[in-house]
Symmetry: C2
């Protein structure tokens, strides 16, 4: 697993307040802005800060809308809450290899590799020994260009 | 305030377990490793992931060892816990200007700019509208070289 973080995603209870603060207040330019869902800002070369509606955040972690309604299916004993780190890989098979490497290193699988909601995405969720949640993902709609700019879609 | 995150720091209850996982298990190379305190990994150009002993993490946020013993002095209603984002600036005066810009945008000051524990550091803590904690810091011992490598000390 390369020594890289590609997304830091934070749960937000008021995404509109986040937009007012970062976009309108600080003048930051969103990489993507999906009202009611997510707001992405590139905050470094190849690096994205995601502000994610807390209901969607929970649903994303728990896997399905139904299980989110019934409460997150994942452990809630994490020391760090409301944040996930994402590590993106080049191909769908590499998701499985990376998860396996993390398990060998002492991590725990929260959700085995599966297809995501959007086209071609394959991802898994893994918890490090301190309860930090990593998403390991292959997303054909994401890449970093030669200048370090993150390109989506 | 530039659209940049320089450090993502996570509270860890078992820093030795974190070291075993990231360094020994995944083979990541620490940028800095202070046993019992903090473990830094560069995870992108100009970008550092910090794993911070949870007692020290709390103390860092609350400001003093005494107040940490008595419980964190800061609000605990944040939606996101156990994580801080850091935004580094070029000079000590810029800490104050940046905090002011964040307040104008709707943030709340948790700790006004003050001198840190280490040489020349000046920093402040600010909470965004969703309870995300930012450290705004000038640290003369930190810089990013032309290749995007983070240099400490």
């Amino acid at each position: 697993m390369r020594q890289q973080v590609h997304f830091v995603t934070l749960s937000t209870t008021d995404l509109d307040a986040a937009r007012r603060f970062y976009r309108d207040g600080l003048g930051w330019e969103p990489l993507a802005d999906v009202p009611g869902e997510v707001l992405f800002f590139q905050v470094g070369p190849g690096m994205v800060l995601g502000l994610f509606d807390s209901v969607k955040f929970d649903r994303d972690l728990s896997g399905t809308e139904a299980s989110a309604t019934a409460g997150p299916a994942m452990s809630t004993d994490a020391a760090v809450s409301g944040v996930t780190l994402a590590h993106n890989v080049e191909g769908p098979e590499e998701v499985a290899w990376t998860v396996e490497a993390m398990v060998q290193a002492g991590a725990r699988v929260l959700r085995a590799p599966e297809h995501g909601e959007f086209g071609g995405v394959r991802h898994a969720f893994v918890e490090d020994p301190n309860g930090v949640v990593w998403e390991v993902a292959h997303n054909p709609g994401w890449h970093i260009d030669q200048s370090g700019n993150v390109v989506l879609g």
